[in-house]
Symmetry: C2
Subunit: 377 residues, 2 copies
């Protein structure tokens, strides 16, 4: 298989766009990414578009507004990992030799109102909603490892601080530890500011085979690993360990595929849908040992000036989480960081970055899908 | 890129399953396809699942019920061409060298009630629904080429005759020409029996690289071409010519890719969502010249014993059209026909078969997606 690079990225400032058509959100992200890439529109040979709630043939509707028609457009869905999946499929279409240039699009208008999964969603019907599930994981982590409420809240403090430096983040105000801890309780111990907000957004990335990348952009970013996989069956009674299995296995595959170790990762965008999620992912991705994530955040290791800055963009907690767009927006941030274009939140000279999404929990499965990408300059 | 074969196919009898969970429909189709293929479940490395209205992470929910977890599962959507797209992506994942064995799944429970596309669907809001659109195309074809109401109705007569020989078809009763013409008028000239019914269904196909196919099945079917593409922008005022462009262009690519001509196709499953659609597709796919499709059906050329039997399964009109499942069910029928396993509707020794789906019309685009596959024994 061929090596593939990201040559262009773009996104709209995340936020609430209740008066704007979702097609327009997507179109703007694509326009920026295409302009950034240096490709002419007619050179784009294939498109993958991820979303979860926007109706039929979304990618075609976005691209039509760009005058970009007559190419294969494939719409993909993988819940919160949809954006990572769309990026993965674009990578595969080029790596496998089918196409030379493609665009990965992610879009979601969460303010539109979500369509419930389906009537067979026993978890939802029984009140095992996402805040409740993640609160149970947090309780378990506190019980098992002595993780504190303050350590959990520090994730939100860090990510909102990062978000305050990111003009693309939904929330750009820093939060104090007290502010996070004293915000409304959603599901003990997770307070409001430890839960990601309802955000609309769109992001896009233009990919091409490595051999032609320099023709378009003088700083192509290599895709050293692109992994999508799904959870193993586990008893529904198992709490947070189900999380662990999927992201851990995906990360091991990604490190092997890229030929790197967790220690080689200079910067990462992780799936911090709740504060506890970021801590769990530190452990699953090998950034620290199991049980030591509370210490990692407390010591500032994952802050912008730490050893491995995590969620420099503000993450899902501050930047927002428009489901289908999130995985691509993570790539946008890492590409900007690797190029040195991240403005006030720029990390010092990162060389290897990682993006990670996970989502789509279903009864009896830990999580439906996980995507991990390792990008190198 | 590598050559890829279909080694196993399966589907459930199409019909109405309002009391059955959609996951169960999908699971049954997968079980049959996997058994037919000769692969062990744990040898399946990747899955693509198509549907349009069934909620999040559908493929994961189906495969969990099979105990098949921990592999990459990607959900795809491309409206009526979703099944063909899921098959295409599975082909690409193997052809490109990412995986050796994969399963393409298509499922739809249409009786569940459809979710409207979106509030921005101007066509729908203005009454330009599918029956209305296709009726306009039929009127235009009659005006331009002198096609008759009887010729249109003959498509339904043929397909319901084929369906009466197919235990997997939703409707298994033959219809007379008078029966079709005298059924309730939906949109002049299309009567009720010239419109595809509301049908639930699921279908699956197991694919692998050609070099290992014989290990699993003694009659592997080669995928000589796999094409997915989308429509070109056209003025909304252009009637049926928008149809023509997409399927015609996709067919030309498919013939070129497979190195065959339309004359080499021995059997085909086409997207006959309405009687007029089948006639238009004869012309777009090169089975006859433009304007001559009425004559083609009248002369019996596309009947089971004709020169090029079309929709031997009964097609969308008699077998039914569960959106995400249709494209894979077409492959199932062609594989059965090429293997000589099609029972009472078996065509005499076909060697090259074609499947064709098209759908997802959006304002200003002819159609959102079209998939064409050419299969060879």
């Amino acid at each position: 298989m061929r090596e593939v690079c990201v040559i262009g990225v773009g996104m709209i400032p995340f936020g609430r766009y209740s008066e704007t058509w979702v097609e327009e959100l997507g179109r703007k992200a694509c326009e920026v990414a295409i302009l950034d890439s240096g490709v002419r529109r007619e050179e784009i040979q294939v498109a993958y578009c991820s979303h979860s709630f926007q109706g039929r043939v979304m990618g075609q509707r976005i691209l039509k507004d760009l005058g970009l028609t007559g190419i294969p457009v494939i719409n993909v869905e993988n819940a919160c990992a949809g954006g990572g999946t769309s990026f993965h499929q674009t990578w595969m279409a080029i790596a496998g030799g089918c196409y030379n240039v493609g665009i990965a699009i992610g879009v979601e208008k969460m303010t539109k109102g979500l369509i419930p999964s389906n009537i067979e969603d026993l978890d939802g019907l029984m009140g095992r909603t996402y805040p409740g599930r993640f609160a149970m994981m947090a309780q378990r982590h506190m019980y098992e490892y002595g993780t504190t409420k303050e350590q959990l809240a520090l994730v939100s403090v860090k990510n909102h601080r990062n978000g305050s430096l990111n003009p693309y983040a939904h929330y750009q105000e820093p939060l104090s530890l007290e502010g996070v801890l004293n915000s409304r309780m959603v599901a003990e111990p997770l307070t409001l500011y430890q839960c990601c907000p309802v955000t609309d957004g769109a992001a896009a990335a233009v990919l091409c085979s490595k051999d032609i990348a320099k023709k378009y952009h003088d700083q192509p970013i290599e895709i050293a690993a692109s992994i999508v996989t799904s959870g193993m069956y586990q008893s529904i009674s198992k709490g947070f360990s189900s999380e662990t299995e999927l992201s851990k296995r995906a990360a091991e595959k990604a490190y092997e595929s890229a030929g790197v170790d967790p220690e080689d990762i200079d910067i990462a965008e992780l799936h911090d849908c709740f504060s506890i999620a970021e801590l769990l992912h530190y452990e699953e991705l090998g950034f620290c040992r199991f049980g030591e994530s509370g210490k990692l955040i407390e010591e500032g290791t994952t802050c912008l000036d730490g050893r491995i800055p995590v969620n420099p963009s503000g993450g899902l907690l501050a930047k927002g989480h428009p489901m289908g767009a999130t995985g691509i927006a993570q790539v946008v941030e890492i590409v900007w960081q690797l190029r040195g274009q991240a403005g006030k939140r720029q990390v010092e000279n990162p060389k290897v970055g990682l993006t990670h999404c996970v989502g789509g929990a279903t009864p009896g499965i830990g999580q439906g899908a996980c995507s991990i990408h390792i990008l190198k300059k």
